[in-house]
Symmetry: C2
Subunit: 200 residues, 2 copies
């Protein structure tokens, strides 16, 4: 152990228990998120439906809607990212110790934040498209298409639920990485107080 390192048992049992719960929670969330993103990609990426309309064969696929393409790409990237991060957390746990420095914490925090906002934006845009497909927008002369492609729309709906749950997991993970980063800037050195005065 280098001179700059502080063993965890000096922080007291409560802090150690919090550390442990945060670490386990982070691993579980990252792996759950990886699975949910992969499910979203599979559900939406493989979704097709063929209909015969006046002897014309019409095929619905996710590439017809740019928002769904964006959703599949974002979920694919998020799935790979959370797998790598989950493995990193697992390795750190099994090795029994983690060297945690500000640069690494900043990198993880930044990537997590970007991923959370990207996933949420992709889900919001895809949901807007889904609502338009389901209900149409009479003021714009945009007709409903889901009454023609019911099976296709249902599968997109399942993908959206899965992606929404993934983005909730990502939001929670980004809280944890913010916690891991910003407590390194703790001002309460030498005391266990919960309040302090800032003079400006």
């Amino acid at each position: 152990m280098s001179p700059g390192d502080v063993p965890v048992y000096s922080m007291g049992g409560r802090m150690k228990a919090v550390e442990r719960r945060v670490k386990i929670g982070e691993v579980v969330l990252r792996l759950v998120m990886c699975g949910l993103c992969a499910i979203t990609c599979a559900l939406i990426g493989t979704d097709t439906q063929v209909r015969m309309i006046f002897s014309l064969e019409k095929k619905a696929k996710y590439t017809d809607m740019k928002a769904l393409v964006f959703l599949v790409i974002t979920n694919g990237v998020a799935s790979g990212y959370s797998l790598i991060q989950g493995v990193r957390c697992l390795v750190a746990m099994t090795r029994g110790s983690v060297l945690f420095n500000k640069t690494l914490a900043w990198a993880i925090f930044s990537c997590d934040q970007v991923m959370a906002y990207l996933l949420l934006a992709a889900v919001a845009a895809a949901m807007q498209s889904a609502v338009l497909s389901e209900f149409g927008q009479p003021e714009m002369q945009w007709m409903k298409v889901c009454n023609l492609y019911r099976k296709f729309c249902n599968q997109v709906g399942e993908g959206l639920v899965s992606s929404f749950l993934a983005s909730l997991s990502m939001v929670t993970i980004s809280f944890l990485s913010a916690f891991n980063l910003f407590r390194l800037y703790g001002p309460n050195k030498g005391r266990g107080n919960t309040s302090y005065t800032v003079s400006m």
Copy 2:
């Protein structure tokens, strides 16, 4: 000063300078955000265009598109919220001292996070609608409407830019409130180290 409070000068000059910059940055961002959200509401809420199409009078307004209604409501709430928060920060600065406790930090952090994600989701959904209005979606038989209502669409575009900038400000503010909250959980008591070892 109560016994639990720690005067800022005991943290050293560097920490004090960081404190000060964070506080000033927070006030500026909150007031800028309040203005940007108000501008968005004004731009989109007052946006109308009347066209004569085959002797029929057609009027475009923001309520024709649910995503724009959601955007205006979210920006209205965010504008009021950031005004209140900005005034709170200003009062705290002019009074010269802030009593900062975990409960208040958690409340501010939670509200800021919810607001950041809501604003971003609203902007993403409205942008998706705007892209559909501008380019149409031929696969769905959804026609472009912006070539009919050019002035209306341009004003919505300006509102979207303003709202996007507001959501970037809100994201930055939510970083600051995460910083303000989680450093209260700092483990580095008694040392100025930047790395530590966690044993599990």
